[in-house]
Symmetry: C2
Subunit: 127 residues, 2 copies
């Protein structure tokens, strides 16, 4: 049905630190999921996607940058809405296929106006 | 480079609530990323992957169940290690393409023995 991601070759023009690029395990689309978490409250704000360049920009600009799969372009969170994410720390997981970005979120993280993208659709658990 | 996920048809044998299955937006591989968060401390423990059946089992058994991309099988977290995840709540995000599971994690979430999968590989930020 699917296969686990394996290390892929970053684009030759990549700016990401080669030591990071070498261990990053991207999906077939060249992306890794990136979880944004409010650094002090622990709220999980949203999940976005990053390619090597988005991760590079997130590490070097202080602002969280994603790759928009729907718009097919880089997306600096808050550039349109003002709801920016200032980067506090960035970590890879043990498999180097997921990014956790701890941020200071200004205002709502969700485009709906909710504080997080997970506030509105809580699923029922079986009793 | 990639396209945004669109709703796909769940397998005919799917047990997942049809109302949830109808709005779930799966990747090309039929999976959605699932973030596991410790319900009381807010720690982001790990990211796994779920198909419809894994989400159904997570909602109905009280134990977090993932689809293992490397082993190509369902994986009830803790069945081997004893480090189980008791499900406290499950939410979809605003796009219905990511799951957030709040759990009570027994012991280490990470196979390395770390409490979370994000403890060991903190990336340097540019000054």
């Amino acid at each position: 049905m699917t296969s686990a991601p394996t290390p892929s070759t970053p684009p030759p023009s990549g700016n990401l630190d080669p030591a990071i690029a070498a261990r990053l395990k991207r999906g077939a689309d060249g992306l890794v999921p990136a979880i944004a978490q409010q650094y002090d409250t622990g709220e999980v704000l949203m999940l976005g996607w990053m390619d090597d360049e988005a991760l590079h920009r997130t590490l070097t600009t202080g602002r969280c940058t994603y790759w928009s799969r729907s718009r097919q372009e880089y997306w600096v969170k808050g550039d349109t809405s003002g709801h920016i994410q200032r980067v506090k720390s960035v970590a890879l997981d043990c498999d180097a296929d997921t990014v956790l970005v701890r941020v200071d979120q200004t205002g709502a993280a969700c485009h709906t106006g909710d504080r997080t993208c997970f506030d509105a659709d809580v699923l029922p658990l079986a009793q």
